[in-house]
Symmetry: D2
Subunit: 460 residues, 4 copies
């Protein structure tokens, strides 16, 4: 998962992109980059590993000249965390300097890459986004618009893209609209962003959200809608964006994320009440709103039972075994006064492997809880995501391998309740929107192709 | 303000100190350091600027050999943020290698330093803690215990100290007990720490909290109480530790911080209810517990109205004026669904300059609040702290210069309520404990001496 | 100009490459890189800006696994000193992982690049070496040998290449043989290097020097000669390698560099004696051997008149104008005792812009020289090099714009003597070898194509 | 050994100090530092590990404000290479900000330090120079002049000092004058430096060299001679400065270093001719001048037989044993043409452990030398230096443990000749100057006290 930003006719585009990426930091903490295009059409790139606030420095902004630009914050996925994979991707092709930032995951990247390599294409990264750049560069079409259209016709999966060719900004969303992308106005200019919270931070106003298959061209702040890509766009919005990924103060897929999460909590309480419980609290901060909704409906008293340590860094020296300090204790501390002697309801957004939750439950019991009732505001995750969420393989997904009873026993909880698929979709507003819920339901809109085993070049 | 750790007979003391400092990170983010003492009595030091998790690396722990040690996390105060001021202070004196970590602020540091300099002492830092090291080194007393006793008899103000002389650990608290220091057991060893949350993280159990004037010697994990320092210790515990500074999951001055904060919220609701309000929410995360208490007593619905950005880094590129993005927007985002059209109660722990709160109120109004009622869970701050809290000078303290009505007008709130001094002290449990509340009441237990204007040597 | 290394069947190839690059450091100080290929055919890359000894660290060698590899040390040329241009170039193409290191300069890079871009190729660097990688990747030929052959048939100019495709090492020299490349044996393995001094340092023995058009394949230390590239290789060895570039302890183009330089000095003395001079000394260290030869023939006493500062770093803080310290004084100091009151002969290898020499002459006069006679062991440089030597444009070449008399006047010397073209070639041994002497004679073996004005992407 | 600089009334003193340290870099490569004092008397410090050219950056010079200053380049000695030992030492004492840079070695540092520690002094470094700072700070004398005089009366050994107290610069040389210090004029200001080459580089003119016991005060560029320190100064100039340490273009102890080294070479040829030798060459660059002198007197042809690699960095990845590359090959390469089949005379300045020379001789033989005759332009080193030269202990000194015949056999030379003590002193001009030649003769002017075994605090 990633956060992307696109800008046209926005003075000091680099600083605005920086602020926008700051707001989208929750979508990707591995690396970040900004490309700007100046008045002459020359482009400037700065990127680095780590958090937005640590990567860019004042001198970078002096270099990053221009009122057109794109930005990208990349999610940390194991193994390929190298600068070569940091975006935006840049290239000089016959259309001039091109830059591209991609949110999502292609399902046929391997096959397309194999075909490109067979034709002599050279890849610098293991990112699937570079595939799109090659397809654009190789298109024989006459205009950048046509080149991009031809390129995206060859790829499948999830892609929300911002692209600059020279000084023109293009925004594209795949025909299923898996990932969000919104368009806003900032002064005389245009800003595209993964979520509305980025618009809020820079003071832009929302124009509209791009839907499945939408393709837009922006020149000097003037937006022109281009014909849709894909033959028949079918909405398959990622429901997990609303459940977990997006920021609660964003509006995503036409829904207030905050409102959806409260409703998830309410429906969770309705489906799985916890009669007799003394208090309900969230695993902060992702489940905060769900706990509010749960408390509303259940009448159980809302509390803060876990304190989150805000200073958990990205690097952590592992304590020796002798210390046996669970990692979960570094991240959360229980509030004994809230917990001791009580029957507590713990609300979390979802359950993946179960290891963190197991540690949390132990910690809560250690703080004296009489009973621990775990409530999850989404259904059991039974399959991986092929469209950009970094879920582990089926082997590691606890709900793909164990029954709810077994999971409850493993976690050591007195009761365990998952929100139903229908409940989740109802809360997410599916009346109006078609959602992808493959990781919960196994109904994959697009089947992925196989993995390419390639001999990597690791570089420093 | 700072966080300190002391260890004796704790294998791999450096890692334990590291974990402890991790837990105390909220007490100081400017710099951190660890000193260990190995079996031969040789000491090892590593320190750096920034967060604990960024400073120490695996190779440091290989260097930091020993089962005795102290650690320090320093608060960021403007101007003197240089590595020379990072603690622990270390020195080789005739008693051998000495290391000292200090939480608090001396009120007669200038006078003592002037006297020491007149006698030929050389200072390497502008920290007042170095004064204590000099006093120990210059004492003609025969034993480290007597040297420390003589040294602390010459200083005034707030000091909780952990000191190693060779392999012996000393813990000292000033006769007023301004700053907390607790003693715990970890296996066969002893751990001293500013707050109990550090004990919790490393898996230690609380032995007791050190009181005003307490002086303790720890050799190879064996604690020996030494006669108190100071003629007549009088408890003047810093109430602001409970109001704001300490972590809610700590027990400080015999009180659960969480419990105190809820009670502050309850009393605040009793003193300043907000009849007709639709929702109450906190300025996260410091006021979270107060909002819970407020909701309990007032019956107003508890909500999450502000989202805190967890990725706010320490360095932030200032946006140009043209962007006019308030800094407050980087840190917090309002949840429109909670706020729009509502009469809201915002609970915060305290009000210092008022600038951040003014920005928050504007933001909340911008999100559509019909009415904004600000409630502060402590009295107006009318004076600076001389004992270690980094409050600004009287000029900058809004409550020192304006009436409550004027403040309400400045902030743009519909109503403003401060908890009374009596209310705060009652919540803090003053029945049992004597508190310092000078910044609220102007009753300073010790008057500070004047400032020394010295020609600094700035070093890189 | 650059230094390159190739290795096959050499255990711990990275360390050997490192040592070899150390020996070739004089050929390029801007950046360096090493690629190794391990037993499984996976390749590993480490590269960086600066000197070989500063770039690589012990952990790099743990990463750089394998017994096959190539290395590159890049010359510092203004403007494009960025990591993106550091070599080796690496790519994953359909033949597997490919790595390439290039010494020399292509004369038709612009045209070839333009054609490649028109076909959709994407360039990551502004280096002409990347062109060759693209040509190999796009070749439809069946084998790496045929692909490389097809690729080099499309490029013109100077290129000595070491290439790995999987675990096979290829060495290629352009049909004019502008740049040197030697082949040596190291244990059971093979080492290719720009100069024999690299073989000496790692303890390898010279097998032979590769001539114009030579193409060699090395698999597991077994060398196989492939048919020559180019229709009719014509030797155009770069005479400037012998005059200036190569290390004196190398054997280049079949000649001992040391021997050639002495002979250049002898012929210089014969052509331009300095009757009445008291001492002769070199501009250290490049002209040391020439001064020895000059002294031998002229009978003038050989001396050390200039001390070179060995600690001149790459970064130097410019003194303010007020100090008016000539940069030449940072690099050289005159030995007054040798110079004062004397008529001195200063021997240098060549004269490019004349600015450094002018500073030197002033300094020597300032040290009390009665007369200064400058002798240059090569002819006037009247044109730029298109084959890899970083000479400036014609505008900046003093001998392209002024007569010898004018130059002497500008430099402030009492007499000025340049070695003749015939003299230089005779010393260089041209009886046996065809040389390129275009920068002296204007006889360019290959005319370069025009410059491509492209909109660059600058990256950090 | 170290290089020091002092400045008064020199605009932009930091840049001048930087240039001066650049010129003195040969005297110390471990660390360097600059302190300046601005118009208000505030001092500014920047220091770091490594070479002068790598430590200081443009922003440092903006910080290092002032026209008064001192600088220091520290020699690399094993074990204590830490930033804490980098000079200048700085302190705030009752006289104001004090900075001190020291060249030399105290012989009673241990005893003085022990006494200071007993009185409560705290040491931050293991450098003996800090002792002097403490003595100044503790003096009860009324003026800085008297304080410095009292301080240096308590120390023994070698010390050339530059000190600033506020804006006044003091220069002091110990009563034996072991280490050089010269005074020069630069515009309206004064510059003190270890060698005249620093004066040359910044464009200053020599006023005079400070002699044994000299004590000078400089205020705003006005020099005032103060009464000598020490009862009866007796000249014991370090002869090794002339033999090896100083730069050949400096004038040290009233002698041109270049002239002395030639004379050492001449006398060496007279004492130990090499009849029948074909060529003579130096081990570059320290013995270059000696080889010139040797050639003059012996009539043997002067040559360049060894090429020194200018890119030998300070960090070097050790090749694995399998490579068995002698370190000497990294540093020097033999010129086969000069050596092969010849009887060669190799001139070096001195012989310490013999390991490098042994490697050199092997390399020269490997290059085909028929005979190798080693000539050393100083006598056998039989004892360590206690006054600042980093000679190893007696155990490691080859001439302290073996006869000349044994040494010749160990090195593998055909003949070995050391210059006699009388010859060396005659060349050094001892008619006029009293020299210390303790490391050659065992006649130590001052006996050192014992070593203090102290428990170190190692810091990062």
């Amino acid at each position: 998962m990633c956060g992307i930003i696109g800008l046209s006719n926005v003075p000091d585009a680099a600083r605005v992109a920086y602020l926008g990426l700051y707001a989208l930091q929750h979508r990707g903490q591995e690396s970040a980059g900004i490309v700007t295009v100046d008045d002459l059409g020359a482009s400037h790139l700065a990127r680095g590993m780590g958090l937005v606030g640590d990567i860019f420095r004042e001198p970078d902004f002096r270099e990053l000249d221009g009122d057109v630009g794109i930005g990208h914050a990349r999610y940390s996925t194991a193994g390929s965390s190298v600068i070569a994979n940091a975006q935006p991707c840049v290239a000089n092709y016959r259309g001039g300097p091109l830059a591209l930032a991609h949110n999502g995951n292609l399902t046929n990247a391997v096959a397309v890459k194999r075909a490109l390599v067979a034709e002599g294409a050279i890849f610098q990264s293991s990112s699937d986004s570079e595939v799109i750049v090659h397809l654009i560069a190789r298109s024989r079409a006459a205009t950048p618009e046509a080149q991009i259209r031809e390129a995206v016709s060859q790829i499948e999966g999830a892609f929300s893209l911002v692209i600059t060719v020279g000084r023109t900004l293009y925004c594209v969303v795949d025909p299923h609209g898996f990932r969000p992308l919104v368009l806003g106005r900032l002064g005389e200019g245009i800003i595209a962003a993964s979520e509305t919270c980025a618009l809020d931070l820079v003071g832009a106003t929302l124009i509209r959200e791009l839907g499945p298959g939408d393709f837009v061209e922006v020149i000097d702040g003037m937006v022109r809608d281009l014909p849709s890509i894909g033959r028949a766009p079918v909405s398959k919005r990622c429901v997990f964006e609303l459940v977990y990924f997006a920021r609660p103060d964003s509006t995503v897929f036409g829904e207030s994320v905050d409102r959806v999460r409260r409703e998830l909590g309410r429906r969770l309480a309705a489906e799985h009440p916890a009669p007799g419980a003394d208090v309900v609290f969230s695993v902060p901060d992702s489940a905060n709103m769900m706990a509010v909704g749960f408390a509303e409906v259940s009448g159980v008293k809302l509390e803060h039972g876990l304190i989150r340590n805000h200073y958990v860094g990205r690097t952590f020296i592992n304590p020796t075994q002798a210390l046996r300090v669970a990692k979960v204790k570094i991240k959360f501390n229980p509030v004994k006064e809230v917990i001791a002697g009580k029957s507590v309801v713990v609300v979390d957004d979802s359950l993946v492997r179960g290891t963190t939750s197991k540690g949390l439950v132990q910690m809560i019991r250690g703080a004296g809880a009489r009973e621990v009732h775990l409530r999850l505001a989404s259904p059991p995750i039974t399959g991986p995501c092929h469209y950009g969420i970094d879920t582990p393989s089926r082997d590691e997904l606890i709900a793909a391998n164990y029954s709810i009873e077994e999971i409850a026993q493993y976690l050591g909880v007195d009761s365990l309740g998952y929100l139903s698929l229908d409940g989740m979709l109802a809360a997410a507003g599916s009346a109006r929107t078609g959602f992808c819920h493959a990781c919960f339901s196994g109904q994959y809109p697009i089947e992925p192709a196989g993995e390419l085993v390639e001999l990597a070049t690791r570089s420093r």
